[in-house]
Amino acid sequence: MSAVIENHHDDHHHGPAKGITRWLYTTNHKDIGTLYLWFSFAMFLIGGAMAMVIRAELFQPGMQIVEPEFYNQMITLHGLIMIFGGVMPAFVGLANWLVPMMIGAPDMALPRMNNLSFWILPFAFFILLSSLFMEGGAPNFGWTFYAPLSTTYAPPSVTFFIFSVHIMGASSIMGAINVVVTIMNMRAPGVDLMKMPLFVWSWLITAYLLIAVMPVLAGAVTMMLMDIHFGTSFFNAAGGGDPVLFQHIFWFFGHPEVYIMILPAFGIVSHIIETFSRKQLFGYSSMVWAMLSIAILSFVVWAHHMFTVGLPLAAEIFFMWATMLIAVPTGVKVFNWVATMFRGSITFETPMLFAVAFVVLFTIGGLSGLMLAIVPADFQYHDTYFVVAHFHYVLVPGAIFSIMAAVYYWIPKWCGNMYDERLGKLHFWLSFVGVNVTFFPQHFIGLAGMPRRYPDYALQFADWNMVSSVGAFLFGFSQILFLFIVLKTVMGGKKATGQVWEGAKGLEWTVASPAPYHTFSTPPKID
């Protein structure tokens, strides 16, 4: 055992390898974090381009740009790419960069698996995107792929979709196991569980959610595969199966998945608000307990996505009450952020702007979620643009704003240069205006009665759809500015200090900027 440790010790002083092999063979958590982040950025732009196609088609009533068949492929791929390619890998990238540095560990616990979990992802998305060029087109049944539309009635490319989802799932599970093992075993002496930075806590909980539900998703797509190719009838009523069973399985995965995409955001925003308010987080332990409660409740609310499938009365009432209960811990989090800002000493650098916008707009998304929990009202909201507005409010100015905030906040630590503050603020305001102009009118469109996943619509929805499309183009094209800002920062700019932000606390700020290739080879001293 000691021989192994000594051998490993000899490797410590080498820097990154040269050329492409640095990235292909890397087991360094910072390199892998960078890979994940760039990959998710690429997927964000591809998924965003699809959103532009959707909004261009919906700019006016009538079919103008694409056919309904292709429109359905766009909405399906947009959802899948943004969720599995954009948001989730971005959070894994942030976890890779930050978790070891925050807990004073030299690297992730399972570095080779870390490499594997990243490098299978590009193949998954290559397969998924290549389905666009297959006969019969790409998957066209929505990102929720309800059977039997996704089985008996699916295009042949569905098999590739299933394979691709399997690979994404394997990648997520490996990433999650790595995070859990790292946090449980590699904390520097003195970093107790209840002293861990909230981002680490949020990721520990997220990782357990991933391990719990990704196999359920794998089960769902495997049952689809069996139905399509091997003559089973899990979801085929004509063969004795049950199409509603699919929805139960899917949403048992799907609802925790929603929290997988928001819990790390809670962690990020807590750090940023604390830093720029120059004041200790109001209630650390209640924040941890709130996240735990949200995670546990996420397993007993799945059927609120299915209020119209004909559930028995008792089930409707149970899922309504359970869903509303989630508002309590979520409220605790929002109140904590506000209380942290209260009587602080606040400045509004770009990360703080994104974090403040996160709190306001995520709360709006949360409140519309509360409205959706009311079953009789949900009969009117369900599958309309009101739902589209709701989940985009929690995912775009929620999850994605938190990722952007994190990039601005930690990029000086990653590459040693400050980003351009003026451009950063411009990016924020363009995104903020764009997001609201896009998604706020969708509340109106939905309440007025426009169903989602419609390539064309009746005339009374025309005005606000046009406004929404204009906002979407503004938001979409603003992200090219984001790409420019990131590239500019990577290439050069004002040198950052190790501390970077006046009010920042945490082990990652105790190392130089840019962070050395290997940090905390010997554990730091914690007071």
């Binding site: 079919m63 008996t152 199409p243 606040i346 403040v356 009789p376 007025a448 419609y454 025309a462």
Partner: protein
């Protein structure tokens, strides 16, 4: 291949652009901001619930955001250079856990009460079986023995911006569901192929139509009128093109309507025994093709490569009359092609003849036609 403007040289490119620019003027509905109240007791209750929770959310938002915005204004680094150091306050934390909890109960109780009313499951005065098909609705009146399909009646040229869009663009059908005012009508909702969802906002009914299951919903409408709804579960490419229109009429008018529908059915039955010419079948068949087949197999029978097979030049349509009939009667296992045995013998014979004759199929194949008697024979039990 995806971009219509690039690929479709047959249609004028300029014309759609003109209507594209003109359409904002024909629609000005900036005030379509909120849910409509609907016209039944239940839909009114749902509307009240919606407004209640909406205002509660607005109030919560107002309180939270005003504290936050005040802090952003008053507690900047300039105005407050030395931050306070307070953190954790058990009284405050208990308060902001308990108060939201009580608010939630105040919302959930009336919601549960309304839900119990909606779930009243007694039989109606009139029971209508609603079946979702890709992409149309079938209505069967269980007591009155009336049955028909309801299809989108908006012209394709309106959808492709070749002519101005009408007032009820995408919200009009060839045959409305007619129900009498003041009677309890129960809908038994199911589907034939994929999952659809039957939504009538004015009645606050939205129930998924699921193959192999029957969901129920009921309503009592007092006010005669025409009410429009839509399919709300993604069901394939024409999901956006299968609207629902319900016409509520007084009882007398309803009885007349039922009588008229029955007479129609009798006339249709008589047609089965009539001698048919190819031209007559073709004429009738084209209309049936436009309604039932064109979405997948396309106007010129060319299909869509990889998903929906072409009929023009297909071996079955050219040379295999028996298999042709069989496919329409039984569907194709494991494919999107369903059984069309719900069409009448005349309709089936006409549409099969049409697809065997049109697009040069008659010249390239055996040119055989199918008459209603062939379908009747097919339906006879085989020994």
């Amino acid at each position: 291949m995806f971009f219509r403007l690039l690929k479709n040289s047959k249609r004028n490119v300029l014309l759609p652009l003109i209507f594209l620019c003109a359409s904002p003027m024909i629609s000005a509905d900036w005030f379509a901001l909120n849910m409509t109240r609907g016209i039944t007791d239940i839909s009114n209750e749902v509307f009240e619930l919606h407004m209640l929770i909406f205002w509660i959310c607005v109030a919560i938002g107002a309180v939270v955001f005003s504290v936050m915005f005040y802090s952003m204004w008053a507690h900047t680094k300039e105005k407050n250079p030395v931050p306070a150091t307070f953190h954790e306050n058990h009284k405050l934390e208990i308060a902001w856990t308990i108060i939201p909890f009580l608010i939630l109960i105040a919302m959930a109780v009336p919601a549960s009460k309304t839900l119990v009313k909606i779930y009243d499951d007694e039989a109606g005065d009139i029971n209508i079986q609603v079946t979702g098909y890709q992409w149309k609705w079938q209505y069967r009146y269980l007591e009155d023995e009336v049955s028909f399909f309801s299809n989108l009646s908006t012209d394709l040229d309106e959808i492709y911006n070749l002519v101005p869009k009408g007032e009820n663009y995408l919200q009009e059908v060839d045959e409305m569901v007619v129900i009498p005012a003041g009677k309890k009508v129960r809908f038994l909702i199911t589907a034939n192929d994929v999952i659809h969802s039957w939504w009538m906002p004015a009645f606050a009914i939205k129930q998924d139509a699921i193959p192999g299951f029957v969901n129920t919903a009921w309503t009592v409408v007092d006010e005669p009128g025409i009410y429009r709804g839509k399919c709300t579960e993604l069901c394939g490419k024409n999901h956006g093109f299968m609207p629902i229109v319900v016409k509520v009429v007084e009882q007398d008018e309803y009885d007349d309507w039922v009588y008229g529908k029955r007479q129609e059915a009798i006339k249709l039955a008589e047609l089965t025994t009539k001698e048919w010419t190819t031209a007559e079948l073709m004429e009738r068949g084209e209309g049936i093709y436009e309604v039932n087949c064109v979405a997948c197999h396309q106007t010129a029978g060319q299909g869509i490569a990889g998903i929906f097979p072409a009929l023009a030049g297909s071996d079955i349509a050219l040379n295999n009359k028996d298999r042709h009939i069989e496919i329409l009667m039984e569907g194709v296992q494991g494919a999107a092609m369903n059984s069309f045995d719900y069409l009448s013998e005349v309709e089936l014979a006409a549409v099969i003849t049409y697809t065997r004759q049109a697009w040069g199929n008659a010249e390239n194949g055996d040119g055989e036609i199918v008459v209603p008697k062939d379908i009747v024979d097919y339906k006879e039990p085989k020994i």
